[in-house]
């Protein structure tokens, strides 16, 4: 008799809709308590021709230390990670078996670190990459690492400062001065013209066994989806510099006038590639600029003297050239992997020549002549003008 009549349709259909909410099939809700949060995953090749998938899972409870829920969180004691692994013919199969062992549903959404062992990488990572990128919850920007040794052991190591090794590697990539590669990006590189890429390559330092204090980081060089080798830490620094990803670097320099070492900190480093094609000769000029500070001076030279400063700048330039030379020796001549994006640079400047040459690029690449045009400027000698601890007569 009142306005209820107007609402009667809502009531009539409401009763049909409401019970459907109670049907279990309508609920894809999953509580936090029912998920096993994967923080990092490792893929190893095992002896019996199978792959082994290891996942590092965030442990919601402090181990060996039962606490009330409200007071948890100050997890200094005990590890907060559990590592589980399973084998299978493929990674999905291994994952399926791993899930079978678990009481909780594994969740990829918070996984930021993927580690593959060198053995797996050398056989090719295409299948694994496809599996990971195909998952809904796997993040395309999670970091990929290649481990020297088993990936599982990398996961098992505990980090001293961080909660677990996954967090350590993640933070290292986010804030640190190391090479980075996201799983989404390596896919893009593999389908580009050049198809070569670099992935951070890690191994634990021998002296810090058990604790992942700081992993030594180099770079694994990939041609298409297969790893062909790796370069060492020093060469990786050169690589980072060439990619303009370097935040800062340290160099120890020795000047002919004196015995001691001068340590300089390089920052504001920038490089440009300038390609040139003259007839059949392809060449590349690496133009670079770096500013640096003197952080230590163990010589008896007074660094207020412009002559020494000039000399220091020259010497730093020479060292940088040597580093880059060693890097190019390795990647250009030995591995023939264009990880410095020479191809891309030629493509941009000489698109027509590139279209003709791109199919035989890996024949041209080793013959590209590289020149250096570096400029290093010492900006600040620091608070001291003459070296510490020397009287006036001893200073040159």
């Amino acid at each position: 008799m009142f306005a209820w009549r107007r609402y009667s349709t809502i009531f009539r259909y409401g009763w049909i809709i409401l019970p459907s909410l109670l049907l279990s099939g309508c609920w894809d809700r999953i509580e936090v308590n029912d998920v096993a949060v994967i923080t990092a995953a490792g893929i190893d090749a095992s002896d019996d021709n199978l792959v082994e998938l290891s996942v590092q899972i965030f442990a919601p409870k402090e181990q060996g230390n039962q606490q009330v829920a409200g007071q948890a969180g100050n997890g200094a004691s005990g590890s907060s990670a559990i590592v589980q692994s399973a084998k299978g013919k493929t990674v999905p199969e291994a994952f399926f078996r791993l899930q079978g062992q678990m009481t909780r549903q594994m969740f990829w959404g918070q996984c930021n670190v993927f580690i593959m062992s060198e053995t797996v990488a050398k056989e090719g990572i295409r299948g694994n990459l496809d599996y990971l990128l195909r998952q809904i919850y796997v993040r395309g920007n999670s970091h990929l690492f290649i481990s020297h040794g088993k990936a599982k052991s990398m996961l098992q190591q505990s980090a001293s400062m961080e909660r677990n090794s996954a967090e350590l590697l993640n933070k290292l990539s986010e804030n640190g001065n190391i090479l980075k590669m996201a799983i989404g990006r390596i896919n893009n590189r593999m389908i580009s013209d050049v198809r070569d890429s670099t992935v951070p390559w890690i191994r634990t330092l021998p002296m810090s066994k058990g604790k992942l204090v700081q992993s030594a980081v180099g770079a694994a060089i990939f041609k298409k989806d297969k790893m062909v080798g790796h370069i060492d830490e020093k060469q990786t620094e050169g690589l980072l510099w060439m990619k303009n990803e370097m935040k800062e670097a340290l160099l120890n320099v020795k000047l002919p006038e004196s015995d001691g070492l001068i340590t300089v900190r390089l920052y504001k480093m920038k490089t440009n590639l300038i390609p040139r094609i003259k007839g059949n000769e392809w060449s590349m000029t690496i133009k670079g600029f770096a500013e640096d500070d003197i952080v230590m001076n163990a010589t008896n030279l007074q660094m207020g003297n412009p002559v020494y400063v000039k000399e220091l700048e020259k010497e730093v330039e020479q060292q940088l050239i040597r580093t880059l030379d060693r890097l190019l020796q390795q990647v250009q001549h030995k591995m023939n992997a264009d990880v410095l994006d020479f191809g891309e640079t030629f493509h941009r400047k000489y698109p027509k020549q590139w279209q003709k040459a791109k199919d035989r690029w890996h024949d041209i690449y080793p013959t590209v002549k590289v020149d250096y045009d570096l400029k290093v400027v010492v900006r600040r000698p620091g608070k001291l003008i003459s070296p510490a601890g020397l009287i006036e007569q001893e200073v040159k």
Partner: protein, 518 residues
């Protein structure tokens, strides 16, 4: 009918509900010339009302009768300024008495019995004289009343401290003290067949639109109810959309708020018997404004206003978003925060929605208990409830610490809203949105918000779109929504209510040293 205090109900048939309240036979009957007839008639009408007093007296040489109601009329005043002059006067007709004898400020004439009753129950004393076809009404209303106090629900740091009382005359006088202009018009009427509550519709002539005033009068006149005890009765009877959970009039007990709204061309409805007055039309944004916004520096006011918008969103959505994210979208939380939440939730046996509902219900219960309890016990309850129960629940592992935090933040955010009524609506709507979120995740949250936005954009308060000036979009009106513009910038009245007389001050009132004469 054991307690039939109403003199006319025996004659009124219950089915007879059309028209106004007194369409009765003997009530509209004119007063007779004979005093004895009048007395008999009145005694009949007012039978069973022992508080009605009749005083028989002789004025000069004529029989007279004074009728008043014990407790409504000021007896001291009655005897001093009415009885005494009457007994000593030599005048012998009512007109001369009114003109020469009575030392009261104001008198009036009544001609029917219905009027007699109305006047008597409003606190007037009625003087009947033999051989006179009318009676003299002497307003002597004087009863115990609360003084003017600071409004408890709307306190401000800077601003007037006075609030309305339960007496309409006092309230109108407070309003008149703020607007000393004949443009302030009051249209009074009574509402309630039995309560006969006095209602005043206040507006500024020349500023308020006539159609709005007419519409308000019509809506009030349409009301036919047995008794209206609070302005909420009227509110529910004059709304545009009675089913909407949102308040469509602004309620306040501050005369300054009423005055401010009158300047913007709105209409205020004051009612006798309650300190709560109403303002119409309003928008959602005017409900999120506090009177203090206009008394503080405009920069602070703008900041606080945005804080308040944030609080409104939090009080509506925070628990829903938390439940949705925790039940569906684990990847949306930053890793470290997520691990902290996981750890705090590890021992909790309930799903997030149950936990949230439990805490929200407990919180609402606590708040309700705190309001109902005497002032001395209230704080104790909140301490026991909030601190001890909350802490115990967390350490017992029934609810997680993060959930307690979410509920507490939601609670504080809802306390930040300056108008209790809109806070209540958001509190109410929080629950359906929470349920939707627990079923469909953030998609459900968005569905809830969408439904809300659709409802809000169809809502109108006395014809003014509820979401204006955002929908319909009016950029010029944003000076009082996105920011609180300084007073020297508020040169025009709000478009939808004040366009009739849109200039509110000269546009050059910005303080500037070059304007001085020195």
């Amino acid at each position: 009918m054991p307690f039939n205090l109403n003199p006319f109900s025996s004659k009124a048939t219950p089915s007879d509900s059309t028209g106004n309240s007194h369409q009765q036979n003997d009530k509209d009957e004119p007063i007779s010339q004979a005093l004895t007839v009048n007395r008999r008639k009145l005694e009949e009408i007012l039978s069973g009302c022992p508080d009605v007093k009749y005083r028989q007296l002789r004025v000069h040489d004529k029989e007279a009768m004074l009728l008043y109601i014990d407790g409504l009329s000021d007896l001291h005043f009655l005897s001093q300024h009415v009885l005494q002059p009457l007994l000593h006067t030599s005048a012998s007709d009512l007109e001369t008495i009114a003109l020469e004898a009575l030392t009261v400020p104001n008198t009036g004439w009544v001609r029917t019995f219905a009027e007699c009753v109305d006047h008597a129950f409003s606190g007037s004393a009625l003087l009947f004289l033999d051989n006179e076809p009318h009676a003299l009404s002497i307003p002597l209303a004087g009863w115990e009343q609360r003084g003017v106090e600071e409004p408890q629900a709307e306190s401000v740091v800077r601003g007037p401290r006075e609030g309305f009382t339960e007496t309409l005359a006092v309230n109108i006088s407070m309003l008149r003290r703020k607007i000393k202009s004949p443009a302030l018009k009051l249209h009074t009427t009574t509402v309630g067949r039995y309560s006969k509550s006095m209602v005043a519709i206040a507006y500024l002539e020349g500023i308020a639109e006539e159609t709005l005033v007419r519409e308000t009068k019509e809506r009030i006149d349409r009301i036919d109810i047995d008794g209206a005890l609070e302005s909420a009765y009227l509110e529910e009877l004059i709304l545009d959309k009675p089913y909407s959970p949102f308040p469509q009039v602004l309620t306040t007990e501050r005369p300054d708020v009423i005055a401010g709204n009158l300047f913007e061309g709105r209409v205020a409805i004051l009612m006798d018997g309650t300190p709560i007055a109403m303002v119409a039309p309003i928008t959602l944004f005017s409900l999120l404004q506090s009177p203090e916004d206009y008394y503080q520096h405009f920069l602070m006011s703008t900041l606080i206003r945005w804080l308040r918008y944030g609080a409104a969103l939090i009080s509506l959505l925070l628990p829903s978003v938390y439940v949705a994210v925790l039940s569906f979208h684990h990847e949306m939380v930053p890793s470290l925060l997520f691990f902290t939440i996981v750890r705090s939730r590890e021992e909790i046996p309930f799903p997030a929605i149950v936990e949230a509902l439990m805490m929200e219900v407990a919180f609402e219960a606590l708040r309700e208990a705190g309001v109902k309890l005497p002032k001395q016990i209230g704080p104790a309850v909140s301490i026991v409830g909030a601190l001890i129960i909350g802490d115990a629940a967390v350490s017992a592992g029934i609810v997680s610490a993060t959930m307690v935090m979410v509920v507490a933040i939601t609670g504080i955010a809802s306390f930040m809203l300056p108008k209790y009524s809109v806070g209540m609506s958001l509190r109410l709507l929080r629950f359906p949105i929470m349920l939707l979120s627990s079923i469909l995740g953030l998609f459900g949250t968005m569905l809830g918000v969408l439904a809300l936005v659709i409802h809000l954009s169809t809502l109108r308060s006395f014809g003014v779109p509820y979401l204006s000036p955002i929908g319909p979009f009016q950029r010029k009106q944003w000076k009082d929504v996105g920011i609180r513009a300084p007073w020297w910038k508020m040169t025009s009245r709000p478009h939808l209510t004040g366009k009739y007389n849109s200039r509110r001050q000269t546009p050059i009132s910005k303080p500037d040293p070059s304007k001085g004469n020195e």
